[in-house]
């Protein structure tokens, strides 16, 4: 069935790129946002091992990376609900394709898209980085992919509850963006009142932010084992839940 997975993934990539707004919206917009924000702030975005996580220092690349990730998840939710509404999922299921294969193809497409956007963003933003500064771009990409992969599983849960494709984008946004607010990106998690602190600890983005900030700052993977474990947990729980509630038609 690997042949089917590969073919389906390749077709989904091509179909996505043929969408006039899809490709530009998900790849172009984050890159542009990064360039514009970077210019406005006239930043010198450098990885720093001093632990100082001022917004201008570290948060901008992390913020934009998470936006890339969220837009990938929103795009997944929209596509899945359109495919369900149009009977495309049902039609694919009425073949020897396994249901897992159909969904896996979409996850792979979104991860590839996330990686491609991130690389473009880092390349385009190179001039903001001081010469000689070491950006751990490879580790950072891997960290973002782990994070996106985990949040995509929430996307499948959201895709299960949206009633029609029209609501996919707004419902997804209403669920995902507030999560970002408590992620420690804008206000450190430790500084939140106790109730919100507990909420923040239940949010997957909190671990994404910690992981991404740490890796950007040059931390080793071992220091963030617990963050990766939390993201894997989110994936396992959400996947188990979606396996129960996911609707194919």
């Amino acid at each position: 069935m690997l042949r089917g997975l590969w073919k389906l993934t390749w077709i989904e990539i091509k179909v996505f790129l043929r969408e006039p707004l899809g490709a530009f919206g998900t790849i172009g917009v984050p890159v542009l946002a990064f360039l514009v924000l970077g210019r406005v702030a006239n930043l010198r975005i450098a990885p720093t091992s001093l632990g100082a996580t001022g917004f201008s220092q570290v948060s901008l690349p992390v913020l934009v990376s998470l936006l890339i990730s969220v837009s990938a998840v929103l795009s997944l939710v929209t596509i899945i609900s359109i495919y369900r509404e149009g009977g495309i999922l049902k039609r694919l299921r009425a073949t020897p394709l396994r249901p897992q294969t159909i969904l896996a193809a979409h996850v792979i497409v979104k991860l590839l898209l996330t990686a491609a956007t991130l690389v473009l963003m880092l390349l385009a933003g190179r001039r903001y980085f001081p010469a000689g500064a070491h950006v751990p771009w490879f580790s950072f990409t891997i960290a973002l992919l782990i994070s996106t992969w985990s949040i995509l599983s929430i996307g499948f849960l959201i895709a299960s509850i949206v009633p029609t494709a029209r609501f996919a984008q707004p419902i997804g946004a209403v669920i995902l963006y507030p999560m970002l607010a408590f992620s420690g990106l804008f206000v450190p998690v430790e500084a939140l009142p106790p109730a919100l602190h507990a909420v923040a600890l239940a949010m997957p983005f909190t671990y994404s932010v910690r992981l991404l900030q740490g890796i950007w700052n040059g931390d080793g993977w071992l220091q963030h084992g617990s963050d990766v474990a939390a993201l894997v947990m989110v994936f396992l729980v959400c996947t188990a839940l979606s396996a129960r509630v996911f609707r194919w038609e």
Binding site: K7, V15, R18, G86, K90, A94, T95
Partner: protein, 305 residues
């Protein structure tokens, strides 16, 4: 003829709605079998249980000797399916869909390009799905249903929404599938389609199968009525028509006579009467009952209601 599909005592409910109730029938190898009834009668649910997409609450189904639900992947490798109102990715190209589908099945005998040619889609190879006409989409779905050289082909409301011309072209394609020795199982709410295409039909209403037979035999069994309409200036003819064997009523408005009766011989008896009495007619036509009338008789309402 051996049965390829055996359905026995199948029941399927959605909440409190009974979609299919105790359905039992067999489909023989090499025939076109139609499940006919109005929208919401349970046709699609029955078909999807047989395809292994849905699990019946009760009853047993066997397709090609397989249990459709437990052995669904084995089954799907050997059948071809066209679903009602299905779509594909808007911007998938025709050849990409065919290529993807071809890669999913074990059998690799069917040449996708030849299939597209047979279905008249060769010049649409590079077109996006969203830019195809309704008829072209249905032909593509037929191509996808045939890509694995299936032993049984399932077609759900194949021509709904198509114009008469496209509909006729699709009927020819379906007959072509039977000529290749395949078994075809289809659903339709169009009585004309069932009459022209199916070797045997099962009439289903409110989830229950009311009767099963060839369209001709169903008509003979349930609707023996015949009607002859004729125009004549000879007003004394009414008396002659009354004596024709099988005639039940004669009425006339102006010069137009309506002669009702029953039995296959009615029409020839009327003709015989005309020539014997030298009645000069300026128009002569017969109204024979069809599946639509059978449906009306069996259910008490028209299929369009």
């Amino acid at each position: 003829m051996r049965p390829i599909i055996q359905v026995s005592g199948v029941r399927k409910t959605y909440g409190r709605t009974v979609a299919v109730d105790e359905a039992s029938f067999e489909v023989n190898e090499g025939e076109i079998f139609g499940l006919i009834g109005p929208n919401g009668a349970g046709k699609t649910t029955t078909m999807e249980c047989i395809e292994g997409i849905r699990k019946p609450d009760r009853g047993t189904i066997s397709v090609l000797g397989l249990d459709p639900f437990r052995q669904v992947y084995k089954l799907q490798d050997r059948i071809g399916v066209q679903l009602q109102q299905a779509q594909l990715q808007k911007r998938i190209k025709v050849w990409e869909a065919v290529d993807l589908w071809a890669s999913l099945y074990k059998k690799k005998e069917v040449d996708g390009d030849r299939l597209l040619e047979q279905l008249g889609l060769s010049d649409k190879r590079d077109a996006w799905f969203m830019n195809l006409s309704g008829g072209q989409k249905q032909r593509l779905f037929i191509a996808l249903a045939l890509i694995n050289d299936p032993e049984v082909v399932f077609l759900d409301e194949l021509t709904t929404g198509l114009d008469p011309q496209a509909r006729r072209a699709i009927w020819d394609l379906v007959r072509g599938i039977r000529e290749r020795g395949k078994t075809v199982f289809l659903t339709t709410h169009l009585m004309e389609e069932a009459e022209r295409l199916c070797d045997r039909v099962a009439i289903i209403e409110h989830g229950r199968i009311i009767d099963i037979d060839s369209p001709e035999r169903l008509v003979v069994r349930h609707c023996p009525e015949r009607t002859v309409l004729l125009d004549t200036e000879d007003l004394a003819a009414a008396h002659s028509f009354q004596t024709v064997p099988g005639v039940e009523s004669v009425s006339c408005t102006g010069k137009r006579f309506t002669i009702r009766g029953r039995g296959d011989d009615l029409v020839s008896e009327v003709i015989h009467c005309l020539s014997e009495n030298r009645i000069r007619v300026t128009d002569f036509r017969t109204i024979l009952p069809n599946l639509e009338d059978v449906f009306l008789k069996l259910t008490g309402h028209s299929i369009r209601e």
